[in-house]
């Protein structure tokens, strides 16, 4: 399974630098489980970080820090290589761990209306990003909306289409605040996707904006 819609290079660089929001990091990691080319791109972005560290200024370290580090080595045992994490379901391990290692069917879904249910994944309290799972029935049309910030959507099952393309399992949609879109879930299979947002999505309809806090996205 290789994805055909990838992360924006700018997003990969933010991930490499360590400045990407928590929810977005998890969504990116979920996509990367399906995507060797984005993993390789992240390595390159990290290589930039390594080079900047290698070329960084130096700040003298105290003798106490040095001797305390050296003194603690004896007590530290070497880490063994871990077998690649196994996922308990059809979603990547990084996401499976976040939802209590249960299949998508068994998590607690909150019905938002006919054809759509969501599940909010708890992250570090006080963060500015939100991570939500969506379960959307075939043919369902998500009302047209723009974004308050960057929005990442990873398809876990099924597929959807919007003006930017056709998204299937493993694909990621990486949109910023300038894009307005109206995704439609394709016929045939329920679509499960993981959705990372920075600020609440901005709906065009005033009514939907009013209802948004109640809808939970």
């Amino acid at each position: 399974m290789t994805a055909t819609h990838h992360l924006d290079e700018a997003t990969i660089m933010a991930l490499g630098a360590g400045t990407l929001g928590e929810a977005h990091g998890f969504a990116a990691a979920t996509h990367m489980a399906y995507c060797p080319s984005c993993r390789a791109a992240l390595r390159e972005a990290e290589q930039l970080g390594g080079s900047l560290l290698a070329a960084a200024d130096e700040e003298a370290v105290s003798d106490q820090c040095r001797s305390a580090t050296l003194a603690s080595l004896e007590a530290v045992s070497p880490e063994k290589r871990k077998a690649p994490a196994k996922s308990a379901s059809d979603v990547p391990a990084v996401l499976c761990n976040l939802i209590g290692n249960v299949p998508l069917e068994e998590i607690r879904w909150r019905k938002m209306g006919p054809g759509i249910a969501t599940h909010a994944i708890p992250l570090t309290p006080g963060g500015r990003t939100k991570l939500t799972l969506f379960r959307i029935e075939p043919g369902y049309r998500i009302p047209e909306h723009g974004h308050g910030g960057s929005e990442l959507t990873v398809v876990l099952r099924g597929s959807f289409t919007d003006k930017t393309g056709h998204y299937m399992k493993g694909d990621i949609s990486d949109l910023d605040e300038t894009v307005e879109h109206q995704p439609v879930v394709d016929e045939g299979e329920t679509c499960y996707c993981l959705f990372a947002t920075e600020a609440p999505a901005r709906f065009k309809s005033r009514l939907l904006r009013l209802l948004q806090p109640l809808l939970g996205f």
Partner: protein, 196 residues
């Protein structure tokens, strides 16, 4: 051109990365404290400066230096030279520990990157894609990109600014920050392909 000749010169095993890989191997195979001390003396001051630039005070930065270097000691056997240089590996350890720390302190907005590549790669191509392992190449490439792109890389990697914060500070749209980041990335990649 002399500069080009220098850039094109192969780094070879005796280069800094080769030497650092050898030091890590000695830690991995025989818990060699002398090798560790050499790595500590090379990296601890840079990690400290790096953390302080990202906003840590001296004591917090030294805590992170200690945590990072102890992780280097315990994880030495996990380092894979095919995935990047020793400096890159240490950078990712320091970055992840800092994110962990911020998250424990509940002020974190940043993600934990452990485990992003847990799934095995079936087609086995990604090792080959990590083309540039000598940090010197990257540093040289960095010197060749336009100032406005280099500035964004420094703000992002060294000063820990989110792209939206960079946009606010430079008073340019977020889309411009992203496109400059992309351009920087594409330029760097091209330069590195030519170099290696």
């Amino acid at each position: 051109m002399a500069v080009m000749a220098e850039i094109m010169a192969p780094a070879g095993d005796a280069g800094p990365s080769g030497r650092e890989t050898a030091l890590l191997n000695r830690i991995a195979t025989s818990r060699d404290r002398q090798a560790f001390t050499a790595l500590f003396d090379a990296y601890a001051p840079r990690i400290k400066a790096f953390m302080m630039r990202k906003g840590a005070n001296a004591a917090q930065a030294e805590d992170l230096v200690q945590e990072t270097m102890i992780a280097v000691w315990s994880k030495a056997a996990l380092y894979e030279a095919g995935r990047g240089s020793v400096a890159t590996w240490i950078f990712t350890i320091a970055r992840n520990l800092r994110i962990d720390r911020l998250r424990r302190e509940k002020t974190s907005l940043f993600t934990d990157l452990e485990g992003y590549d847990v799934e095995t790669d079936e087609d086995g191509q990604e090792e080959a894609l990590c083309r540039f392992q000598e940090d010197g190449y990257v540093a040289r490439a960095l010197a060749q990109i336009p100032e406005e792109q280099r500035q964004l890389l420094i703000m992002s990697y060294m000063e820990d600014m989110a792209q939206s914060e960079i946009a606010a500070k430079l008073q340019i749209p977020l889309g411009t920050v992203k496109s400059r980041m992309r351009l920087a990335y594409i330029r760097m990649r091209k330069l590195l392909e030519t170099i290696s």
